[in-house]
C-alpha cells in the first residue's frame, strides 16, 4: 500500500545559539532530509546528545530550524503532532482521565464527545480501570500508557515519542510497543520514535534511521507488519540490530 506523504523535512539544520559573544555556534543537526508517509512508523537511533530530541522538538514546533524547511502535508485536526515526552509531562494534580482530556481542550467538541474520546483512548491503552488515579498512584508502565492515551486523544497526524519506554523493563515495554504499533497502524497515524535502544527501534518501527554527527541515515527497513516474538528471536532481527548498533557507535 502506497501512502501519501505526511511530513517532509528538507535540508533542516539546527545550531545552538551562542552563549557568549564571539563563541562559535554548536551545530547539532545538519542538512536533515526525511520524508514520512501517513501511517508510517520510523525510529531515530543515536547516542545521548546526538540531537534526537532536538529533531522531535523541531517537528513539534518547540524550536525553529536554523535553516531548511519542515512541511506538514496533511492536518486533519487542530494538532498536527502530539508528543509523548521522556518525562511524560503528566499533570500531577489531574487524574488519568483529566490528563487524557487535556489533549482535547483546544478542540471544539461537546462534553459527551469529549467523554467518548477520552474513554475510548483509555480503553485502547488498557488504563480504564485507573482513570480516577493520580499519576503518583500509577506505576511507570501505566503512566506511559496514560501519556500515550493523551497524545492519541488529540487525534494527531504524527505521534512523536521521545524515549518514553526507556524506564520500563523489557516485558512491560515489549507489550506496550506492540500494542501501540497496532493502534497506530489501525488509525493510520505516523510516528517518529527516538531511542538509543536498537531493539526498541526495530520492534516498533518500519524504518530505522541513525543520527550520528548531525546527519540522518537510514540503516534498516523492513516490511514485517506483525512483529511477533518469533521475529524478535530470529536471526534477521539479530542482524538488523547489529547493523543499527554499528551505525550509532
Amino acid at each position: 500500500m502506497v501512502n501519501e506523504l505526511c511530513l517532509n523535512l528538507s535540508g533542516v539544520s539546527f545550531s545552538y545559539p551562542c552563549a557568549q559573544k564571539g563563541e562559535t555556534k554548536r551545530s547539532l543537526l545538519s542538512n536533515i532530509n526525511l520524508k514520512v508517509s501517513c501511517g508510517e512508523i520510523i525510529s531515530v537511533c543515536g547516542k545521548n546528545g546526538s540531537g534526537k530530541s532536538t529533531l522531535l522538538n523541531l517537528v513539534a514546533g518547540f524550536s525553529v530550524p536554523t535553516s531548511g524547511k519542515i512541511v506538514h502535508l496533511e492536518s486533519r485536526g487542530d494538532i498536527f503532532a502530539a508528543m509523548v515526552f521522556q518525562e511524560l509531562g503528566l499533570l500531577e494534580w489531574k487524574n488519568a482521565y483529566e490528563n487524557v482530556a487535556l489533549g482535547l481542550l483546544s478542540k471544539k467538541v461537546t462534553d459527551k464527545e469529549k467523554e467518548e474520546i477520552v474513554l475510548k483512548n483509555l480503553v485502547l491503552l488498557g488504563v480504564l480501570d485507573d482513570k480516577d488515579k493520580l499519576p503518583k498512584e500509577l506505576s511507570g508502565g501505566l503512566k506511559q500508557r496514560v501519556a500515550i492515551a493523551r497524545a492519541l486523544a488529540a487525534n494527531p497526524k504524527v505521534l512523536l515519542l521521545d524515549e518514553p519506554f526507556s524506564a520500563l523493563d523489557w516485558n512491560v515495554k515489549e507489550k506496550l510497543i506492540k500494542d501501540l504499533r497496532k493502534i497506530l497502524k489501525s488509525r493510520n497515524i505516523s510516528a517518529i520514535f527516538v531511542t538509543h535502544n536498537p531493539d526498541d527501534a526495530l520492534l516498533f518501527s518500519d524504518k530505522v534511521f541513525a543520527l550520528t554527527n548531525g546527519e540522518l541515515v537510514m540503516v534498516s527497513s523492513n516490511t514485517i507488519n506483525d512483529k511477533t516474538s518469533a521475529f524478535v528471536e530470529s536471526e534477521a532481527f539479530a542482524k538488523e540490530r547489529l547493523k543499527v548498533m554499528r551505525s550509532i557507535i
Partner: protein, 255 residues
C-alpha cells in the same frame, strides 16, 4: 499514630509548664508593674474577656489585618502571575518591585500617616505592603519554576492563555501561593500591631499602648498573649486551606 499524638500533646503540656515556671520565677525577681506573674496576667485576661472590653479591639485588629491581607493577596498574586507569565510585564515590573521589596513595611508608617492620617487607611496601607511582597515573590517564583515539560504540554495541545493558566500554571503554583500567604499573614499580623501602636485609635496595638501609659502591664501581656493565639489560629486556617487545595501532593506512590 496514637503514640505520636500522645507524644505531641505531652510535649506541649510539658513546654507550657516549663514556660510558666520560668515566667513565675522571673516575676518574683521584679516589681509586678514591670514584670507581672502568670497568675496576675491570667486574672487580667479573664477580666478582659468577661467584661468584653477586649473584643472591640480584637475585631478592629482582625478587620484591618484581614482586609489588608486580602488586598495584598489579590494584587500580589495578580501581579505575580502576570509578571511570571509575560516577559514584557516582567521586564517592566520586576525591577520596580525588587527595589521596593527590601524596604520594611514599618518604615512606611511615617509616610502612611502623612498621606492617610491616623486611622484605618494608614493601617490598611501598611498591612497591604506587608502582605503584597511575600505573595508576589512566592507566586512569581512558582510560575517561573514551572517545568519546561509543562510549558511544552501546553504548547503541544495548543492551549489558550486562560486554559494554560487554569489547567497548568495555577494548580502548579498553589503550593507556592499558600507559602506566600503563610509568610504574608504572619507579617500582616505583626505589622497591624505596630501600625496600631503608632497610628490608630482602636485595636490590640492601641490597647497595648494605652495600657503601657497607665502602667497596666498585666493587660499589656494579656493582649500580647491574645495576639499570639490569634496569630497561631490564622496560620492554622491557612494550613487547613493548604491541605484542601494541595491534596494531590500527599497521595501515596504507585509501584
Amino acid at each position: 499514630m496514637v503514640e505520636k499524638h500522645l507524644l505531641k500533646w505531652m510535649g506541649a503540656v510539658f513546654a507550657a509548664i516549663l514556660f510558666i515556671s520560668i515566667w513565675a520565677t522571673f516575676a518574683m525577681l521584679f516589681n509586678s508593674f514591670i514584670f507581672p506573674g502568670p497568675l496576675e496576667v491570667f486574672e487580667s485576661l479573664i477580666t478582659l474577656i468577661f467584661t468584653g472590653e477586649i473584643f472591640p479591639h480584637i475585631l478592629a485588629t482582625l478587620n484591618r489585618a484581614i482586609i489588608g491581607f486580602l488586598l495584598g493577596l489579590i494584587l500580589g498574586s495578580t501581579l505575580g502571575y502576570l509578571t511570571g507569565m509575560n516577559k514584557y510585564i516582567d521586564a517592566v515590573l520586576k525591577p520596580i518591585i525588587e527595589l521596593l521589596r527590601p524596604i520594611p513595611p514599618i518604615a512606611w508608617i511615617p509616610l502612611a500617616i502623612l498621606w492617610f492620617g491616623i486611622g484605618d487607611a494608614s493601617a490598611f496601607f501598611i498591612i497591604f505592603l506587608a502582605s503584597f511582597f511575600p505573595v508576589f515573590t512566592s507566586v512569581y517564583f512558582g510560575v517561573t519554576s514551572l517545568p519546561i515539560v509543562c510549558e511544552r504540554v501546553s504548547k503541544n495541545y495548543s492551549l489558550t492563555f486562560s486554559q494554560k493558566f487554569v489547567h497548568i500554571v495555577f494548580p502548579f503554583s498553589v503550593p507556592y501561593l499558600i507559602n506566600g500567604c503563610k509568610t504574608a499573614i504572619g507579617w500582616a499580623w505583626m505589622c497591624v500591631i505596630a501600625a496600631e501602636i503608632i497610628a490608630s485609635s482602636q485595636g490590640l496595638g492601641y490597647f497595648i499602648e494605652i495600657n503601657r501609659f497607665s502602667l497596666n502591664t498585666s493587660s499589656v501581656i494579656s493582649a500580647m498573649l491574645i495576639i499570639g493565639v490569634i496569630g497561631l489560629i490564622l496560620q492554622k486556617v491557612i494550613q487547613v486551606i493548604e491541605t484542601k487545595l494541595t491534596s494531590w501532593r500527599s497521595v501515596s506512590h504507585g509501584e
